[in-house]
């Protein structure tokens, strides 16, 4: 049943891709798929460990810049550069898991906000790698087997494959011992310690996996939209990714996908008046925190459990 629901959520952008044959909608579907990937990865941290990493966009940005640098300056194939960039992101994720050893809840989120701001400033002030606030334009699309850029509907299918792989991976992880351990830690850290669980090690592992997924999304994003700039990876983006997970339903496989599907296309559909987007996102953040702490899917599950 759950697999069916997941399949349907992932299929929604694909309906847009093949059903409507509209280039712009196909592009939006691609954007939604990348955000689904990100939201799933973020969920591994937020949903399954309870930590709010406001650094997520920054981590994605590191991989994005790294991948772009490898492809455009060093001439590497995108498919070789992407894992390297993502590995760099995972490494940064490892470093970022250090605050989690000492800091909890609010202070962890705050440290994340600070680190994210430092990332943004670094993206602007190390123009040798990032070209500063000007950004890097004309980033080529990922190449296919024939060496040319993958054309549009197929590229989005590749993105969908990434999402499916990530969701399947996270789903399997959650059923494994490791996943159950993470949930134990989230529910009661002291109990977990008492049971002899190495809290730090497990959490660090979650950080690394989640950051790797952020990195995959970052590399794909830059090459998909053809541009990398500091503002695509700033604290608001981190916050909005958090919103996608929280609004969809954290700690579930479907929730983040649903949240990304609902929220990610918004800025692209509101092209005429996008300042409204900030207001809508902000209001959504407030409303979700107030009334839907379990998110939409969490709410549906609860209703279902009751009936």
């Amino acid at each position: 049943m759950r697999i069916l629901v997941i399949a349907m959520v992932i299929a929604t952008p694909l309906v847009a891709i093949f059903g409507l044959r509209n280039d712009f909608l196909v592009f939006i579907a691609g954007i939604a798929l990348i955000h689904m990937l990100w939201a799933s990865g973020l969920n591994l941290l937020y949903g399954f460990t309870g930590l709010i990493p406001l650094t997520y966009a920054g981590i994605a940005g590191i991989s994005a810049y790294m991948t772009v640098h490898l492809v455009m300056r060093l001439g590497l194939s995108f498919w070789l550069a992407l894992p390297i960039g993502s590995a760099a992101a995972a490494l940064v994720g490892l470093l970022l898991s250090l605050p989690a050893i000492r800091l909890r809840g609010f202070y962890f989120a705050l440290s994340g906000m600070v680190i994210q701001s430092a990332f943004t400033i670094a993206f602007v002030y190390f123009p040798a790698y990032t070209n500063g606030d000007t950004g890097i334009a004309s980033v080529p699309r990922p190449t296919g087997f024939d060496g040319g850029a993958i054309p549009s509907p197929y590229m989005e299918c590749v993105l969908a494959l990434f999402v499916i792989a990530a969701v399947a991976g996270i789903g399997l992880t959650m059923r494994s011992r490791f996943g159950r351990t993470l949930i134990t830690i989230r529910e009661d850290e002291d109990l977990a310690r008492a049971l002899g669980i190495n809290v730090t090690l497990n959490r660090t592992a979650a950080f690394i996996i989640s950051s790797f997924i952020a990195g995959l999304g970052g590399g794909l994003y830059a090459h998909y939209i053809g541009f990398a700039s500091p503002r695509a990876f700033d604290v608001l983006i981190s916050l909005n990714l958090w919103l996608m997970v929280a609004m969809g339903g954290r700690g579930t496989l479907v929730g983040p996908l649903l949240g990304a599907l609902l929220l990610a296309p918004l800025p692209y559909l509101l092209v005429q008046y996008t300042w409204v987007k900030d207001v809508i996102y902000g209001v959504a953040i407030v409303l979700v925190t107030l009334f839907l702490p379990q998110g939409i899917y969490g709410f549906v599950l609860k209703r279902k459990a009751r009936t």
């Binding site: 629901v5 409507l20 712009f24 606030d133 334009a137 541009f227 996008t274 300042w275 279902k304």
Partner: protein
């Protein structure tokens, strides 16, 4: 329950998306995709540009619709600008793009347009790389920023041949380009740069730097702050004892000039449109008046470029240019004059405007108007400067 709900939802989402862009194929007017900063940090410039363009659109369409501006917001965000370019291209099927006013956003549009073979006429974007060699699609109305630096040196040299200058700028792409041109030409013209200060984009105070600048005793200081810092920088320079005639602003929108304050009367600035120039064309004078009726202040260079851009397109339509290929070919051949100033418009093989520049001195300033004195007018070709090597 969810199993039945989700397919409906997906249909709904798609339907909503489909409604967002009506794909009506109107073949009569020229469809111009206006990719503009209507929100985010560059909102003011995006809106100012659109104000000018809308005025021209209304005038041009007074006797039947000839030009259709399809406006979309890029949030001052390059990634969004690339998406908007895509939307205008594939969804609206526009004949060409226009509208961006800022370097980052323009570069994103550049990237998309060159790939998608969609012509672009950039109204206000001074970053040189927008027309780097090999550019096929992009044409640029505004002279490039490296040239502004060059022009500043040339101008200062007319006042004092062995002048010492200082530079204080916010660290923005366009300012870095100005600085590059300035340094290049200063070295060749024997002008010494005694101090060079770049501020982070979040700077709000320059007390210490202005004192340091004072200590270096430059003859002229070139100022280009970003946003509010521009006004603060100007005031603090005057506070510390610099004379207005020592301050040189490479550019200034109407609102910016007004926020420098009355104490800055006598400052020099390089702008590309002055609403009280005696040699404005009749249409230029009408433009100033009509604009003032709507906004209570005179138009500046941003409004002028965007107004002129629409009129340039109108001229091309009158000459029979149609479709993307037609527009591109017509832009390559352009040899006309700006409707407001009579200054020539020609593009080189990369799409860069054959460059020109006015330099002004502020004569008076009130709440809703300013007057300047024409001091200098110069023309140059981009070839005199290795612009594309100076700035990456």
């Amino acid at each position: 329950m969810l199993g039945r709900f989700l397919p409906k939802l997906s249909v709904l989402v798609c339907a909503m998306a489909a409604m967002a862009g009506p794909a009506l194929a109107a073949d009569q007017p020229l469809k111009v995709g206006w990719n503009s900063e209507l929100s985010g940090v560059w909102t003011f410039f995006g809106n100012a540009c659109l104000d000018g363009a809308r005025l021209a659109e209304t005038e041009v369409n007074a006797k039947g619709k000839k030009i259709d501006l399809i406006v979309q917001d890029n949030q001052s965000n390059p990634a969004q600008a690339a998406a908007v370019a895509r939307s205008l291209d594939t969804q609206e099927k526009v004949d060409l793009l226009s509208g961006p006013t800022n370097a980052d956003v323009s570069l994103a549009v550049y990237g998309y347009a060159e790939d998608a073979k969609l012509p672009v006429l950039m109204p206000v974007a001074a970053f040189p790389q927008l027309t780097k060699p090999g550019t096929k699609q992009v044409f640029r109305m505004e002279p490039d920023a490296v040239g502004w630096g060059y022009a500043a040196v040339k101008f200062i040299k007319t006042m004092k041949s062995d002048a010492k200058i200082g530079v204080m700028m916010s660290d923005f792409a366009v300012n870095r380009a100005i600085l590059a041109g300035l340094k290049y030409q200063a070295e060749r013209d024997g002008i010494a740069i005694v101090a060079e200060m770049l501020f982070p984009q979040s700077a709000s105070d320059a007390t210490v730097q202005t004192a340091q600048m004072k200590a270096k005793k430059p003859d002229f200081v070139i100022l280009a702050g970003g946003g509010a810092f521009d006004a603060t920088l100007t005031r603090q320079m005057l506070d510390v004892g610099f004379k207005p005639e020592q301050l040189y602003h490479p550019y200034g929108s109407t609102k910016q000039i007004m926020t420098w304050g009355e104490r800055s009367i006598g400052s020099y600035f390089g702008t590309f449109f002055d609403h009280n120039l005696p040699n404005l064309t009749e249409q230029g004078k009408a433009f100033v008046e009509n604009f003032r009726k709507v906004k209570n202040y005179p138009p500046g260079y941003t409004e002028n470029y965007c107004y002129s851009t629409v009129y340039l397109l109108n001229e091309l339509v009158d000459k029979g240019a149609k479709g993307r290929d037609g527009i591109r070919a017509a832009l390559r051949e352009v040899n006309t004059k700006e409707v407001t100033t009579g200054v020539p418009i020609r593009f080189d093989q990369n799409g860069a405007r054959i460059e020109y520049m006015y330099l002004m001195q502020l004569k008076s300033l009130s709440k809703d108007d300013f007057k300047t004195e024409k001091v200098n007018y110069m023309e140059w070709s981009p070839e005199v400067l290795p612009v594309y090597d100076l700035v990456r």
